[in-house]
């Protein structure tokens, strides 16, 4: 029983490990948001991170990005403590928007994802332009290259952000709620693109979401952040009435329909839709 809660995942342990957290606590100003977390994510894994608003999902990203230090415990990414500006990480922040007045072509933003951290003025560099085009293709957004950023829809913008994150050929993708504000069709499209990057490039993707069902076909692991704790494991291990009841500390029931969709009943947030 305990291994569900404390997430000692043995499955697919032949993958090289990219991120390990041991007895990890995180928070702001000394007050933990969550504590006692143990997890490990391997190369090429697609991981969903779920939980109520304010539970500390983005905090986990901030730790991995090196924007914030753990309160306690150890965290290693790529075999070392996280540091800000790790070029192996591609990141799409939450509520990421671009001002509608922005009259700059999408290609430029993707290009900056690659060379925006380099000093100096070098507009004649064609190498990064080509890389940007390839990345736009990988994100299914090649047709948007010359469109103005400010004129894009939410779904188009998410594809540009994905291209911006992929352009530096990262080993790890951190996507913070990329599916919010997308309709079901665009949600499926974007997930397909992310899954494609995971499978073809061997990228590890951590994706924060609110609804698990569209993700289920692609996932290797699920992370549940709630009630100041973190539960990790394969979807089969975590998405059970027992595990979630223990995590939330209130009775939670997980129902499954014949198509494999789950409904999580007993928690107020829409982590799973009632089927």
């Amino acid at each position: 029983m305990r291994q569900h809660m404390q997430s000692e995942v043995v499955a697919e342990s032949n993958r090289p490990t990219l991120i390990i957290g041991e007895d990890l606590s995180a928070g702001y100003g000394g007050t933990p948001v969550w504590s006692g977390a143990n997890f490990s994510f391997g190369k090429g894994e697609f991981v969903a991170i779920l939980g109520p608003n304010g539970a500390g999902k983005t905090t986990l990203f901030r730790l991995i990005l090196g924007l914030q230090k753990p309160l306690r415990g150890t965290l290693e990414t790529f075999g070392a403590p996280p540091r800000r500006g790790n070029p192996h990480i591609g990141y799409v922040p939450q509520r990421h928007t671009i001002d509608t007045d922005t009259n700059i072509e999408c290609l430029e933003l993707v290009r900056l994802g690659l060379s925006g951290t380099r000093w100096g003025f070098n507009p004649l560099l064609h190498g990064d332009r080509e890389a940007a085009f390839k990345s736009l293709e990988a994100a299914g957004a090649a047709d948007l290259a010359y469109r103005r950023l400010g004129a894009l829809s939410g779904g188009e913008l998410q594809r540009i952000f994905l291209a911006e994150a992929l352009v530096s050929n990262p080993d790890l993708l951190l996507l913070d709620e990329p599916l919010s504000n997308l309709d079901i069709r665009r949600e499926t499209e974007l997930l397909h693109l992310v899954n494609n990057a995971v499978r073809t490039r061997g990228v590890t993707a951590l994706l924060i979401a609110h609804n698990i069902n569209p993700l289920l076909p692609h996932l290797n692991k699920v992370v549940y952040v709630a009630n100041s704790r973190i539960a990790t494991g394969t979807p089969r291990e975590v998405l059970t009435s027992e595990t979630l009841t223990r995590l939330y500390g209130v009775p939670v029931e997980v129902l499954k329909d014949p198509h494999g969709n789950v409904a999580i009943i007993g928690v107020e947030e829409h982590h799973g839709d009632i089927v």
Partner: protein, 294 residues
Amino acid sequence: MSFSPNLIADLQQIWYYQFMRNAIEAGTLTALVAGVTGYFVVLRRSAFTAHAFSEIGFAGAAWAVLSGYSPLAGLLLGSNLGGLGIALLGRRATNRDTQIGIVLAFSLGLGLLFLSLYVGYATQTYSILFGEILGVSYDQVLETVAATAAILVGIGIIYRPLLFASLDEDVAEAKGMPMMALGISFMAIVAVAVSFAVQVTGVLLVFSLMVTPGATAQYLSPRPSRAIAASVLIALAATWLGLFLAFYTPYPVSFFITGEVFALYLLVRFVYAPLRLEKAHAGGILAQPVDRSG
């Protein structure tokens, strides 16, 4: 000094005067700097900040005049201190206009106090407020050359990180860019650029060179390098034409510059940009309708 249809002769006549040569040289350099810097000012939505600089600079200049220093020294001191303060206030551009407005109002009041204490000739004040490019000395031209070189080199160094940080602050920060240092550097660049632009347009009209060309250029090209070039060309053309017109009329240069850039902005914003968008739709570049909900 009368206008003739022979433009070559007109230009020769203008070039004959030392004060016009100084004005053209200083104006050209200022337009170059303002065009480049202004693009980033618009991109970073820092127009209000740029305006605040000039007014904090005004307090500095008024103090300098009162204390017997050069107004430019006061301008530079005031706008740089203001820039440092604003950069330290926080990296987010939002929610800053209140603080900027408060400091701005106080600075103008301070400037007014210094002016009332000053018993000398008030022309200097007037020229700080509204610009007096025709009174630029040769030494000032040399100062402008140095400042222009420094600003262009500075922007050249931080060009890509600045563009990145302006477009996508969160990702740039996660990628390890020193956001605070970038913010302070850019503010310092704007402060110096504003101080020199004030010589041409004056404190109150500094928008005409620092903001309008950059804002217009954004509609002319979606590629930053081209838009910056357009911004510079607009600022240059406006300054040259303004000097030319002012030479033959009794009206101030600043008025012509503000009027020209405003007219061009209206033309580009409301005639050129909609036309181009229509053409793009017709040409199939925007094959799908823009759907903001999806």
